[in-house]
């Protein structure tokens, strides 16, 4: 007895060789591709290899190469069993690599037997006379049987292909049942599908039942069925006449032959199927058992595939639902966020409109107060006493303060909704400084504060909104004068700081009470007013510096303050210089710095 390795990706071809060469004659081992073939080759050291050429991954030629390279198996004879047309040159090349024979598919069994015998002659073992002991009659008889089995195998493959397309598990089992009945030449075929615990039947399919209509037959768990389930091995009985088998017959008639196999894939048992024949019909042989096993293995794989497919389908539907759900939630969230944003915008808009309206409504009466106060002060309503004049001045000052507060309120509202309007252009600060000094001269003189300016003559123009700069300087000067005691000084200084080229720096210095160190950082914050504010120097809403900061930063500058508590304060701000030269200088110096760094 020799060990023959058949390497072929088509099960039907392997089956054919196993049937032809196996079963007591030789030990035939099967590999479904080159890789598996090599594993068996190295593990089993077969006496002969029957090799297909066209296979996935590792094909026949590659297999041959590996075989010849490995000394331990290099002299194993190889029969090429292929559908491939090979020319003479290729053949002799392959012969030189140790191929002993070429067999074209499809081949007569005799051709194969001859080739195998010839190949094995070089590998004589003690009891290798097995094959030549066949008589010709024996062979003829066998061949007839093999051919019928071959046809069945073909039917099996075709059925397999057909069934592999089936997506409905019930229809798959039903069709399989009918096909198995035919292939195995049986009168009845029954499939039972078990639940997960392999205890209860969940589905039964019957083929060959004599009566029409729905099948109510449910096979009992007889000893034979139990054995199939528990041992996972086929059960084949012939000529038993045993009563237990009659119970398994859908028509309840006596049973002559029974063949049952488990339907299992890996370790998972899905159920079983059996075929039965009555007396006088085909008896189930070992070949039938093999085919039944193959059928069962196939159906197990198909069934498993369908279940997996079903599972995947359900999972994908679940996922789809889940993702749709998530998408919906996402959309809802986005919508909610959008609406919230819209509501916030509307709220801001509403607030802006409200402040705008309030400021408008406050201005008209204030206007009348101011106008009539100045009319009386200008003696347009007759002469007034000094005392009256003094009081009217107080009214006037307060109404102007009220106006500033209204302006500030509106300005802050705008700043916070990003609607501050800046119209920058090139202009000189000298003119503005002169105007401001003029407008503050009386006020400063009244309070005994000396007001001066420095550095404006040769100052480059700036690029800013003149109205806004006036607003900022008004605020800073007003504060400086207000907080400087009699005899003190307030000065506006303008310089171009060499440390900050391209910018003009303005400084408002006073010799007032100064600002505490810990407050310096927060004086530009909204609603800040340090405790220094006394009754005589009320300064409104405390929004002034906050607005200054907004305005300066909006124009590309910086604003900050320095102070020695008790000695006075300095407020600084910078503005971008106007002329192109200055801007160029800035760019150049930036580039120079970059270069220096490099």
């Amino acid at each position: 007895m020799a060990t023959i390795l058949t390497v072929d990706d088509r099960p039907i071809n392997r089956q054919f060789l196993v049937t032809l060469l196996g079963y007591g004659k030789h030990r035939v081992i099967e590999a479904q591709d080159g890789a598996e073939g090599l594993r068996l080759l190295y593990g089993e050291h077969p006496d002969l290899v029957i090799l297909d050429v066209k296979m996935p991954l590792v094909d026949g030629f590659e297999f041959l190469g590996h075989l010849r390279d490995d000394i331990s198996v290099a002299d194993t004879p190889v029969i090429l069993y292929t559908g491939l047309q090979l020319d003479e040159a290729r053949r002799s090349e392959l012969m030189s690599q140790g191929v002993t024979a070429f067999i074209m598919k499809p081949a007569e069994p005799q051709v194969i037997l001859d080739a195998v015998n010839k190949a094995l002659q070089g590998h004589t073992t003690e009891d290798d006379a097995a094959l030549p002991s066949f008589t010709i009659d024996d062979l003829q008889c066998r061949l007839a049987a093999e051919q019928s089995i071959g046809m069945r195998l073909n039917a099996l493959v075709e059925t397999g292909l057909e069934l592999s397309l089936e997506k409905d598990p019930a229809r798959l089992l039903e069709r399989f049942c009918n096909a198995a009945c035919q292939i195995l030449d049986a009168k009845y075929a029954v499939i039972g599908i078990l639940d997960a615990s392999a205890q209860e039947l969940t589905n039964i399919f019957v083929s060959g039942c004599s009566h029409e209509g729905p099948i109510t037959f449910s096979p009992p768990r007889t000893e034979a069925i139990d054995s199939i389930i528990k041992k996972g091995r086929p059960v084949r009985r012939c000529g038993a006449g045993d009563d237990q088998f009659a119970l398994l017959n859908p028509d309840q008639t006596p049973v002559e032959c029974f063949l049952g196999v488990p339907i299992a894939s890996g370790t998972k048992l899905y159920g079983w199927f059996y075929v039965i024949n009555e007396k006088g019909s085909t008896a189930f042989e070992v070949e039938h058992e093999r085919i039944a096993e193959t059928l069962a293995a196939q159906i197990a794989v198909f069934y498993e595939n369908i279940l997996l497919y079903e599972e995947v389908r359900i999972k994908s539907i679940e996922l789809e639902i889940e993702s749709a759900e998530r998408e919906r939630a996402e959309k809802q969230r986005a919508q909610a966020a959008f609406e919230l944003d819209l509501a916030r915008q509307e709220q801001l808009e509403l607030r802006d409109r409200f402040f705008s309206h309030v400021s408008h409504e406050l201005r008209s009466p204030l206007s009348a107060i101011y106008q009539f106060t100045t009319i009386i002060l200008d003696d347009l309503a007759g002469a007034i006493t000094d005392e009256q004049r003094e009081y009217l001045d107080i009214i006037l000052r307060n109404s102007l303060q009220l106006r500033t507060m209204i302006d500030d309120l509106l300005e802050v509202t705008r700043a916070e909704s990003g609607k501050q309007h800046i119209e920058p252009r090139d202009f000189g600060l000298a003119e503005l400084c002169k105007e401001l000094k003029t407008s503050f001269r009386k006020r400063a003189a009244d309070l005994g504060v000396n007001l001066s300016s420095e550095g404006f003559d040769d100052l480059p123009e700036v690029f800013a909104d003149p109205g806004r700069i006036r607003q900022v300087l008004n605020n800073l000067l007003d504060n400086a004068i207000k907080f400087t005691p009699v005899g003190g000084n307030v000065c506006i200084l303008a310089t171009v700081d060499p440390a900050e080229p391209g910018f003009v720096r303005i400084e408002v210095v006073d010799t007032g009470c100064g600002i505490a160190k810990q407050s310096l950082g927060s004086i530009f914050e909204r609603h800040f007013q340090e405790e220094r504010v006394t009754e005589s120097s009320r300064s409104g809403l405390g929004l002034g510096l906050y607005i200054c900061k907004q305005l300066i930063e909006l124009q590309g500058g910086r604003i900050w303050a320095e102070s020695n508590h008790g000695l006075g304060s300095s407020f600084f701000f910078t503005l971008p210089a106007a002329n192109a030269d200055a801007r160029c200088t800035q760019l150049v110096s930036e580039k120079a710095q970059e270069l220096t760094v490099v």
Binding site: H360, R363, P365, L366, S367, Q371, T374, D378, L380
Partner: protein, 131 residues
Amino acid sequence: MDKNKILIIEDDIDLRRALNIRLRANNYDTVFAGDGIMALSVARKERPDLILLDIGLPGGDGFVVMERMKNIADLACIPVVVLTARDPQSNKTKAMELGAEAFLQKPVDDAELLSAIAKALRNNAWVEPMV
């Protein structure tokens, strides 16, 4: 030389009175209108040298008044100074586009008001027919 005549279009009676006193004290003649409709008929009748115009008015606001004046040949070239409580940020551009000489926000400094009026009159002196 005749006094320049100013038409004060203002719906606030108190302010109108104050402006009247202030402008007369500065050697101007004054006439009044309290709403947008009266404004046009007074302007037609009085042929003022300048119009001091409020924006928030009943019977068509100040912008409407300016637009209508544009379509009336006799009134089209009378200079307009806008004096309003409204926010310059959203109104000044529109007023200037409609041909206003100046945009003043209430409450306005007397000096600022008078200089704006004088400037507007000066700018438009050449259209005055020489009598």
